[in-house]
């Protein structure tokens, strides 16, 4: 196996959200790349070469480089996070590519994720979805003993399956409607699965779904591309469960301020 490879590299460059943007051919900087390097290390090498050639480096987001912080992400040859299943861009390694292969690298594309520069996008919309209800209100120091409420192992495991979402945005990039349903349903599903999450369940579901729409994400129309792109293999079933929770909340939820009288008997 060749230890180094040469690539035909095309990278999306865009100087801010208002710039039209274009692909640049950086093949001359993409030669002699070790197959053991990660994809981001490959871009590091390209960037050092660009800088020494008096060109501005490619801007891309990244941080932990071990697949957990969710900061990195780019579309490689049309696939969010590239060709390897269940793998973030930082964990994708160059042994996945052949020498001479053509690479087209682009940012997540969604109107709710404006481009900041090059491959970096603004995912502030995700923050606002969480702020709308992705939490359990529990003031520091007011909690009961952790073993006070036993939680079945299967339930805890299931909540964990959803909670494993890293909020990278690949699901949005993969979806033809640019829907963030998978992200949102994972966050809702995690909290709605647990006994601690029940008090705010309906309010949470309604508020987060409303915020998702406000941010300009599309609706889910069951393409399943998000699940295929998700580096943490979050199941599409969470979207089904979110829809169930949404329906139930829409029927039964009344904000506290709309409840009658203050006698707490508005359900009568």
């Amino acid at each position: 196996m060749a230890e180094t490879i040469d690539l035909k590299l095309h990278v999306w460059r865009q100087n801010g959200p208002k710039d039209a943007g274009r692909f640049e051919d950086y093949s001359q900087y993409a030669r002699g790349i070790s197959t053991h390097a990660s994809f981001l290390e490959f871009l590091d090498v390209v960037n050092e070469r660009l800088v020494l050639d008096n060109k501005e480096p490619i801007m891309f987001d990244h941080d932990c480089r071990e697949g957990i912080c969710g900061m990195c992400g780019m579309v490689v040859n049309g696939e969010p996070h590239g060709p390897q299943k269940a793998t973030t861009t930082c964990q994708l390694h160059m042994r996945s590519f052949r020498s001479g292969e053509e690479l087209w690298v682009e940012p997540w594309r969604a109107s709710a994720f404006p481009v900041i520069r090059d491959l970096s996008v603004d995912r502030g919309a995700f923050e606002r979805i969480i702020q709308a209800g992705g939490y359990i209100t529990a003031r520091s120091g007011a909690a009961p003993d952790a073993n006070a409420i036993p939680i079945a192992k299967s339930l805890a495991d299931e909540a964990m399956d959803a909670a494993t979402c890293i909020g990278c945005g690949a699901c949005v990039a993969a979806c033809p409607n640019a829907s963030a349903s998978l992200f949102m349903s994972a966050k809702i599903g995690h909290l709605n699965s647990l006994p601690q999450g029940q008090a705010e369940r309906d309010k949470r579901t309604l508020a987060m779904v409303a915020q998702h729409e406000k941010e300009g994400f599309g609706s889910c129309s069951n393409h399943y591309l998000c699940e295929a792109a998700c580096p943490k293999e979050i199941s599409i079933r969470w979207i089904a469960r979110m829809n169930r929770d949404l329906l139930s909340a829409a029927i039964s939820y009344k904000p506290a301020e709309q409840r009658a009288g203050g006698d707490g008997l508005s359900w009568v």
Binding site: E41, D61, D63, F126, A138, N147, Q196
Partner: protein, 648 residues
Amino acid sequence: MELRSNAPTGPIETRWDRHRAEIKLVNPANKRKYEVIMVGTGLAGAAGAASLADLGYKVKAFCYQDSARRAHSIAAQGGINAAKNYQGDGDSIYRLFYDTVKGGDFRARESNVYRLAQVSVDIIDQCVALGVPFAREYGGLLANRSFGGAQVSRTFYARGQTGQQLLLGAYSHLARTVAEGKVDLRTRCEMVDLIVEDGRARGIVTRDLVTGKFEVHLADAVILGTGGYGNVFYLSTNAKGCNATAAWRAHRRGALFANPCFTQIHPTCIPQAGEYQSKLTLMSESLRNDGRVWVPRKREDCTRDPSSIAEKDRFYYLEEKYPAFGNLMPRDIASRQAKFVCDQGLGVGPEINGVRRGVYLDFADAIKRDGKKAIAERYGNLFDMYQRITGEDPYSVPMRIYPATHYTMGGLWVDYNLMSNIPGLFVAGEANFSDHGANRLGASALMQGLADGFFVLPYVIGHYLAQAGKSKTTESSAAVTATLQETQGRFRKLMDIGQKGSRTVDDFHRKLGGIIWDNCGMARDPKNLRKAIEQIPQLRDEFYSTVKLTGSGESLNRDLEKAGRVADFFELGELMCRDALERDESCGCHFREDHQADGECVRDDDRYAHVAAWEWRGNGPEARDGNYVRHQEQLSFEYVKMAQRSYK
């Protein structure tokens, strides 16, 4: 300068309770008049910001990432300790306290450690209430695992993603307070200087990482929850963005830097594969619960297929040397033993600069005993990660591991109230020096971050503000404008050099990291430390004349950000080496080759049972000898008897 810990005296079991009963309070209506700045949104930062906001303070929080939930606490894998004694295996607050002081090789403050052990219990309650999906047993109660340096099972975990789940919990707490308008959260925004006026911390200068704009933020108290400085080594398990700039700039404004040479090398990381390597990846220490560490006994076996090496030809060096703890030896010893066997030529894996730096971590016995399914359930995500990075399947081939820089016990000096020697400047989590001494035990970093954030800061901040009152500094005051101008000048200077430069920032960072790893890494000796102290300023001078930057200062400029951080690493790295040289003993992770007995640390308690706290007297990049002043805080051990740390 006299360093006063301000720790209460009397029975240690009641110190924190008595302190809390005695500290000053700010009444609820007045809290909203006070502004508090939190820099960093990891476990300490997010938990602290949210808790303070819920109390009523006006909080401004800052992180360099695009979301608060990406802080590097997220990458912690194995777990979080707490003295719950849910297993009924003899754990207690006292035992966790004892293990932590002993594990830290008697270089931590007893009062702080006791408090940490005490509030550990509340952390688990708080996290469960926030919806953290910890692992559970079939009966629905919380599960525990054991970790290095302890003989009880007190570690709570969420698969191999405990840090992620805890941070998401703390982050959701923060997100709610942001939504409620109690916290003003600024992302992609980095603190680049501290504003001090009349000896009190008054605010910070930030650089917006998208627009390049410098801004002043004033407050009545400033808290740094900015993490450690492991990236001084270039290759570490830290995230690429982790940096020491906030702490270092505070140091240059007068905050003492304590025990900078106490840096932890984690024993189980994936070995380096090549020059282009940008970081090292950690495999949770929890793997040592089931994995057996070994190397071949004979050099000629080092390149053979490990499965073909007979049991008698395998050297299970931890199990043989330390039968009581075996593969669960504390991190410092496990790391050094790996280095020793590799230095003896028994290492495995690729040869880099003439040495094979790797040892096996073998799961064959555990898979035979418990089945592949059980092992996959415990460590599946770690095994997957290993396979993605190395291209090898750890279910069938033993993992190769080697130590890497992981955590820094040193940090800004703080008293019992987590306040630095600059009034109004507080430091929490890994950024301070206070709880882990010369070596941190596994699963204790998450514990400390959340202890500080959830349960210490809410009290001590009020205590300070009740006494100090509001800061009257305004944007037009002399200290503010001077600090802002100095900061802008610093970045402008880097840009000016960068236009004509010829070497990339990463190139300098790699060289600096190499010097520090070789001379101030797992084993240190005076000759090499002196060499490093000469080499680092030379390299720094080259940096300030030949570093290459493109683009402009007043806009998004990733290389300029990095250059600012690396400039600070030069100074911090030099101080680390000086601290390592001055500490003429071995203790915990600080292993001096000239103070050892068969590879074990030999402490010098008569001369070094103290915290070394360094004062900055330098003057910019020209700083040389004599610009560093070393102060001492004497440590006394009233409860844990100082003894040679023995795990045999």
